[in-house]
C-alpha cells in the first residue's frame, strides 16, 4: 500500500499512514511520548528535546515531534539510551527552572512538574542556574504575570502569540545562555502591543505566564458584611469549569456552578448571559440603524461592515492594529461591562442597595476581561462597573479552597433580576454564536418571522474554520423595514486574531462587502479563551462547542428578544434600545493606540 508505511514501535510491527511523525504514530498505538514544546495548536519547534526516541541504526536520537516516519523504521520509545537522555534533559530543565513548586501558581498543573514526577527526579545534581541570573517578574499588567525564572524556553507562548494571534507581543531574544522570551525592548507587557488575550498563559506548560489572580480580593469582599457581592458568569465558563474539577471536556455544569457560587458566599449569582441577550437587542438595533442610514438616508458617514465588540482582546487588537477603523466597531459594551454598569444602577435600585456597597465580580473564560474592567471609561455607573474579574481557572480554585465536592452539588438556577437568559446568549461562548444570536433576533424584527433554519440552528455560521462567511436573504420584510427587501445580509466570522487580521485587511482594502462581522480574539471563541482550563486544544475546543450548542438546544427560550427579564429591563429602566439610558450605560468609545 502506497500510503501506508510498515514500521515497528518498541518491537511491535505496525502500519502507519504516510506523513505522520513518530510522535503521532506512537500516539496512535497508545504509546505516550513525553513532550513540552509540542502543542497541537502550534507548529513543531523540536527544541525541548524531551520527546527524543531511538531509531535503530542511527547514532543520534530523534525528536519524535519533528521526525516523519519512514518505511522500515524501528522505533524505540523507552530504551535505556532514551530514558537516560530524557532524564538528563528533564534534570537540565529543572536546573534552569525556579522549581519552587509549592509556591507556584501552577503547582499541580505544570507539565514540567509532571514530567519530573514521572521520571522521579529526586535529586538536583546539576548546578542551579536560577540564582545566577537576574530574572524579572513582570506584574504590571492587570491580566498577565510573566515570571522569567520559571520559563523553560519552549517558545509555545511565542508561537501562540505569532501563529494564533498575529500579535507578536512575545519574542525570543538574545542567544546562548542569555536567550530568553521577552517583549520588544524587554518592556513590561502592559507597555507593548499585547491584547491581554491570555492565549500565552493557556499555552504555557509551566508557571512562567499566569493570569493575575484576584482570589484573595474576592474572598475579602465575600467576607465583608457591609458589601453586597454580585457575581456574573460568562457563557463559556459553564462548559469549561468542569475540566478543572475533574470532569471530562465538554461537561456542562451550569447548575452546579451556580450552586457552588452560592455556597462560596456570593450574595447574588447572576448571569452574563442576561446581558448577552441585551447586547443582541442593542447591537442588533445598532446594525439595523446603520443599515437604514446607509441604504435609505444614503449617509456616507455610516461605517459598514459593523463589527462586534464583545471580545476585549479583539478590541485592544483593533485599537492597536487598525486605529483608523474603529468606527466599524459596534459601540456596544461587552456583556460583562453592560452587566457591570447595570448592577450598580438598575440592580442597585431594584434591590434597594447603595451602589458603593456593591462589589461586582465576574467569572470569565478570559484574561483580557481583567484589563477591560480596568479601562478608565468603564465607570459609567459612577463607580467601577466591574470590580474583580476571575478566570474559569480562578473560580475552580475558589471552589477547591472552599472544600466543595463539586460533583455532589445539586444544580440550581440563577438568581432573578439579571439571571434569566436564552439559548442565544449561551452560544455567545462559541465562535459564530454572537452572529447566530443576532441573526435570530434581527431577522425576526425585520420580517416578523423566525430565521429560516431548522430548529433555529444557523449552521452555516458554526464550525471551527478560521474565517467563515454566510449570508441570509431578507424577503417580505415588515413595512418599516421595506428597504431591506431582497437584500442579502452578508456576514463574516473570524476567531483567533490571526484570522481577524485576514478579515480586517480585506475591510481595510475595501474588498469586503460584508454588513456584519463577528470577531473573537481566541481560537474557537470564548470557549477557547485564555482564562479557560489548561490544556485547551482543538479537540477540547470542539467538545466545549458541542456542549454549548447542546445547552442552547435544550433551552425553552432561544432568542434574545424573548428574554422576559430583558423585556422588563426595557420597560422599567432603559425604555428602548439605543435610547438615552442605554447610550449612557451600555455603549462606549474606543481608543486609538500605537501599532508599535
Amino acid at each position: 500500500m502506497a500510503n501506508k508505511l510498515n514500521i515497528s514501535i518498541n518491537g511491535f510491527p505496525v502500519e502507519i499512514a504516510k506523513g505522520k511523525t513518530i510522535l503521532e504514530a506512537a500516539d496512535e498505538q497508545g504509546i505516550k511520548i513525553p513532550t513540552l514544546c509540542y502543542h497541537k495548536d502550534l507548529c513543531v519547534a523540536g527544541n525541548c528535546r524531551v520527546c527524543v526516541v531511538e531509531v535503530v541504526g542511527q547514532n543520534r536520537l530523534s525528536a519524535a515531534c519533528a521526525t516523519p516516519v519512514e518505511e522500515g523504521m524501528e522505533i524505540l520509545t523507552n530504551s535505556l539510551k532514551v530514558r537516560n537522555s530524557r532524564k538528563h534533559i528533564i534534570e537540565l530543565l529543572l536546573a534552569e527552572h525556579n522549581a519552587d513548586c509549592t509556591k507556584c501558581y501552577r503547582n499541580g498543573n505544570c507539565e514540567l512538574q509532571e514530567l519530573a514526577s514521572e521520571y522521579k527526579i529526586m535529586t538536583q545534581d546539576f548546578l542551579e542556574l536560577v540564582p545566577l541570573k537576574n530574572y524579572t517578574i513582570d506584574m504590571f499588567s492587570p491580566s498577565i504575570i510573566k515570571d522569567d525564572s520559571k520559563c523553560i524556553r519552549c517558545q509555545r507562548c511565542v508561537r501562540t502569540c505569532a501563529e494564533l494571534q498575529g500579535v507578536n507581543a512575545l519574542t525570543v531574544a538574545h542567544k546562548g545562555d542569555k536567550m530568553k522570551i521577552t517583549t520588544f525592548f524587554e518592556k513590561a507587557m502592559r507597555d507593548v502591543v499585547c491584547t491581554n488575550c491570555g492565549q500565552c498563559v493557556n499555552h504555557c506548560p509551566t508557571g512562567a505566564l499566569v493570569e493575575k489572580n484576584y482570589i484573595e480580593e474576592v474572598w475579602e469582599a465575600i467576607a465583608n458584611p457591609n458589601k453586597h457581592v454580585v457575581v456574573q458568569t460568562a457563557p463559556a465558563v459553564r462548559v469549561g469549569l468542569g475540566e478543572e474539577l475533574g470532569l471530562e471536556p465538554g461537561s456542562r455544569v451550569t447548575g452546579q456552578m451556580v450552586a457552588a457560587l452560592k455556597r462560596l458566599g456570593f450574595d447574588s449569582v447572576l448571569d452574563t448571559d442576561f446581558t448577552a441577550d441585551l447586547t443582541i437587542m442593542e447591537e442588533g438595533t445598532e446594525l439595523l440603524t446603520r443599515l437604514k442610514k446607509a441604504l435609505v438616508d444614503k449617509d456616507e458617514s455610516v461605517s459598514l461592515p459593523m463589527a462586534t465588540s464583545c471580545s476585549p482582546g479583539w478590541i485592544k487588537y483593533i485599537e492597536h492594529m487598525y486605529p483608523e477603523h474603529l468606527e466599524h466597531l459596534s459601540t456596544c459594551k461587552s456583556p460583562q461591562q453592560m452587566f457591570g454598569a447595570l448592577v450598580k444602577t438598575y440592580y442597585a435600585k431594584a434591590r434597594n442597595l447603595e451602589p458603593e456597597n456593591i462589589i461586582s465580580v465576574s467569572i470569565m473564560p478570559c484574561t483580557a476581561k481583567k484589563f477591560e474592567a480596568y479601562r478608565p471609561e468603564m465607570h459609567d455607573s459612577g463607580y467601577r462597573d466591574v470590580d474583580y474579574v476571575l478566570t474559569t481557572r480562578e473560580l475552580a480554585i475558589l471552589i477547591k479552597q472552599a472544600g466543595l465536592d463539586f460533583n455532589k452539588l445539586k444544580p440550581v438556577k440563577y438568581d432573578r433580576l439579571m439571571g434569566e437568559s436564552t439559548g442565544a446568549a449561551v452560544i455567545f461562548g462559541a465562535t459564530g454564536g454572537v452572529m447566530e444570536a443576532a441573526l435570530r433576533t434581527a431577522y425576526e424584527i425585520v420580517t416578523g418571522r423566525e430565521v429560516p433554519f431548522k430548529n433555529l440552528d444557523i449552521t452555516p455560521v458554526r464550525g471551527m474554520e478560521g474565517v467563515r462567511e454566510a449570508s441570509v436573504k431578507i424577503e417580505n420584510p415588515l413595512k418599516e423595514w421595506a428597504f431591506l427587501d431582497g437584500i442579502e445580509l452578508k456576514c463574516a466570522i473570524a476567531h483567533g486574531l490571526v484570522n481577524a487580521k485576514t478579515v480586517m485587511d480585506s475591510v481595510k482594502s475595501g474588498k469586503a462587502d460584508y454588513h456584519f462581522i463577528e470577531f473573537m480574539a481566541c481560537p474557537g471563541g470564548c470557549l477557547g479563551g485564555g482564562g479557560q482550563p489548561i490544556p485547551t486544544n482543538p479537540e477540547i475546543r470542539r467538545k466545549r462547542a458541542e456542549a454549548i450548542y447542546t445547552e442552547d438546544s435544550e433551552l425553552a427560550l432561544r432568542k434574545s428578544h424573548e428574554n422576559p427579564e430583558v423585556q422588563k429591563l426595557y420597560r422599567d429602566f432603559l425604555k428602548e434600545p439605543l435610547g438615552e439610558v442605554s447610550h449612557h450605560l451600555l455603549h462606549t468609545k474606543y481608543t486609538k493606540r500605537e501599532r508599535y
Binding site: 523540536g46 543520534r60 530543565l93 546539576f126 546562548g176
Partner: protein
Amino acid sequence: MANSYQLKRVDFIFRNENDWEKVLSTTIKKKPQELINELISSELKGRGGAGFPTGLKWKLTSEAKAEKKYVICNADEGEPGTFKDREILSKVPYKVLTAMAVCGYVTGAKEGFIYLRGEYKFLEEELNKEIAEFEYYCKEINLDFKIKVFMGSGAYICGEETALMESLEGKRGEPRNKPPFPTQAGFKGSPTVINNVETLVHTFTIFKYGAKKFYDLGVQYSRGTKLFSVSGDTPKPGIYELELGMSLQDFVYEFGDGDTKAVQVGGASGFLVPRKKFKDAAIGFKGKLTGISLPTGGSMMLFNSSRSMFNVLDNYLEFFREECCGQCTPCRVGCQQLLLGIKAVKRGDKPASYLDKLLRLTETMQLTAKCGLGQSVANSFSSIVENFREEMIY
C-alpha cells in the same frame, strides 16, 4: 598506516592561473550528469567539517523538482582557529564564484549567495567588484547566474547550514529540524546546495584537472587536499594546503615548537589529541585509517607544555555557552552546566567524580542536541577531560 605518511605540501587552492573564464566556459559545455559523476568519482567531501559527499549533495539538489533553487557559499567561518576561507576569498575569489556558477548550472539554480561573516566585512567591497566582473562574463557566455554577498553580523551558529539559511531569510540564526535537508527544502523552502568556501574551490580543481587528479591525492575515504589553519604554539602559524591522511605525529614534527603537549584538531568543536596519541591519530574522514581518524574543518591549534588544559577547555565552553543559539535544552543548559561544572570541580565545590557526571551529560548532548553545535561540544570536552583529568581537578 598513518605514520608511514609524510606530510605532503600541495598547491592547488591558491595556485593563481587566472583561467577561470576558460574553466567555466568549458565546464558548462558538459552535461550536468557528467559533472555530478565527476564529483562523485573524486570522492570530495565537504570541507566545513561535517564531510558530506559533495557530489551527492549536488545530485540530490539537481534531482529535486522546484521552481527555484539556490547555491549558497558558506563563508561564515567562525570555528575558533580557522581562517582559511578568508584567505581563499581574498586571494582566489574567482574560483569560488566559478564553482558556484557551475553548481548553479548543474542543479538548475539561478541565484547564489555568499554568506560572509561580519568579521570579514573588509572583504565585501573587493568581493563585490569580483562578482560584477564575473557576472559580466556570465552574461557573455549566456549563463544565467547571479551572486550576492550577504553579510553576517556576529553569530558562530550561523555556520550551521540551516541556521545560516534562517539568517539569510532575515531571522534569528536558529538551526532547523532535519529532515527536511537543504537539498530538498533550504533557503526559502527551495532546494539549496550549501557548500563551504574551500569545498567549492576543490570542485574548481576537479573540474579543471579532472577527478582523478584529486582522487589520487590523500588516502582512502579521505581524498584530495585540505587547507589547514595552524595556530597556537607554533613557530610557523599560517595556512597550509596538505594532503589528507597525514599522521598527527608528522604534523607536529613539521609545525610544533618541540614541546607540543597537545593539538586541538577541528577547533572548539573538534578533538584534543595529547602527545602520547599523536602517532595513532590521522587527519581525515572516518575510514580504514588506523587509530583515531579526525575529520576537521582545518583548524589546528597547538599547545605546548606551558598551557593549562583547564584554561583551554574553559575558553571553549565559554565560547559555546555564548554562541549556541539557545533554543534546544541539552545545548543551552548543557553548555552552562559544563562550564560551571568544571569550575566547581576546580574550586573544590564539587567532587572529582562530578566530571564523570558531566561526561555523561556530554553523551546526552551528543545524542539529543538539535544541531551539530550541541552534538559536538562533547568532542572537546571528553577528549580534554579524559586525557587531562588531573589538570581539571588540581
